[in-house]
Amino acid sequence: MNRNYIYLTLLMLILAFGTLMIKKTNEPKQIEPQQLLFELIQPTRYVSTDQVAKMIIQNDPSLELIDVRNSKEFEIFSLPKAINVPIDSLISKNSLLNFGIPGTKVVFISNDDIAADQVWILTKRLGFKSTYVMKGGLNQWIETIIDPKSPVESDPALAFETYAFRKGAQLYFTGAKTENAEPAKVKVEVQRKKKSGGAAGGC
């Protein structure tokens, strides 16, 4: 047997052993700050209240609403099927189990969008993917879905379509009777974020 085989074996063992040495930290896996900075200056994380309403109405099974307000506020009012994860109890095993489930889209909701955005950043730092922020928060929800303003005549046609959708959504969420009772069928594009940059497909 050639002595080089022994050298090879040892070399390979050292290389593999080295990988154990280079482990970075024992902290839960986090993405690099620069990567986080890069991701958080993109506005792709925002979804509109219309999109959220649409997904709720369509009973989108991948939608997971996370309400980050405190439990008192959550009890008074919450969106259907929303899960309450107050910011203060965010970093616990139980709360984190809600995120990163393959095939789900997590949408954070707070009174406005700041708190939801903050939770988004914290979970992003932990490396969770496909998380979103409902822009405008519940304030915007009330203004657009629960109590939509009718567009003025000079507004573009799109505004009327959106309005028709919102009236339909209003009916759905409040059970209110409206003048134009016909169910509004407006296509609101649900933006699905594609896996950013990652390579697709293998063999």
Partner: protein, 212 residues
């Protein structure tokens, strides 16, 4: 019947080349520009730190150029910046934040004991960068509450905003439960002249949740 080359010296050579590449990689490795200084728990606490916020009325000193140690960064793009900005602000578009120069600039400012105030169109735009810079140890970075829009509304009388609470984000503007309750009969739309959506001034409503 040994039909494969049995002497592995070429193998050793190939593996050695690999090792050399790894050694080169090891020595040329750059330390990352940013590292987290706060862990998750501390980061959450930091969000409530009122000292990390910059209140609109504090802008007065910056605009009149009285307080020298404050640098105002406008995170919007330079097109919007050109259309109007807070006097004395510097343009640092959010897209440029990841650039090395920007981070070096922030480091210089930190070493020079400057306070850096970030603002965007609304508070949301500056929220992310502000949180990140705080987490990586720039404890001189603050966020302008309310953002540029709020400033624009009150620029004539910034001091008056001391008693205002609308920039205190995180407050429900409406009584959600009541608004969303099923309304029998009467159509929602018929309730006349609902509040306009533009930032309506409201009295300071109780304790605003959180610092910023």
């Amino acid at each position: 019947m040994e039909i494969h080359e049995s002497n592995p010296w070429k193998t050793l050579l190939a593996l050695s080349v690999f090792v050399v590449i790894l050694i080169v990689g090891f020595f040329t490795m750059r330390t990352p520009l940013l590292t987290y200084k706060l862990d998750m728990k501390q980061s959450i606490e930091e969000m409530k730190n009122t000292d990390a916020c910059f209140y609109p009325w504090q802008l007065n000193g910056v605009i009149t150029n009285e307080t020298k140690n404050i640098v105002l960064f406008d995170l919007r793009n330079n097109f919007v910046f050109g259309q109007g900005h807070i006097p004395g602000a510097e343009n640092l578009s959010a897209q440029d934040l990841t650039k090395e120069e920007s981070i070096e600039r922030l480091e210089d400012l930190k070493n020079g004991n400057f306070i850096v105030v970030l603002y965007g169109e609304d508070q949301l735009q500056a929220n992310g960068p502000w949180m990140l810079f705080r987490q990586v140890g720039f404890d001189n970075v603050k966020v302008l509450l309310g953002g540029y829009q709020y400033y624009l509304l009150h620029k004539d009388n910034l001091l008056a905003t001391k008693t205002d609470s609308i920039f205190q984000k995180g407050v429900p503007k409406y009584n959600f439960a009541e608004m969303a309750a099923p309304k029998n009969g009467a159509s929602v739309n018929s309730t006349p002249a609902k509040k306009t959506v533009e930032v309506t001034r409201r009295k300071k409503s109780g304790g605003a949740a959180g610092g910023c």
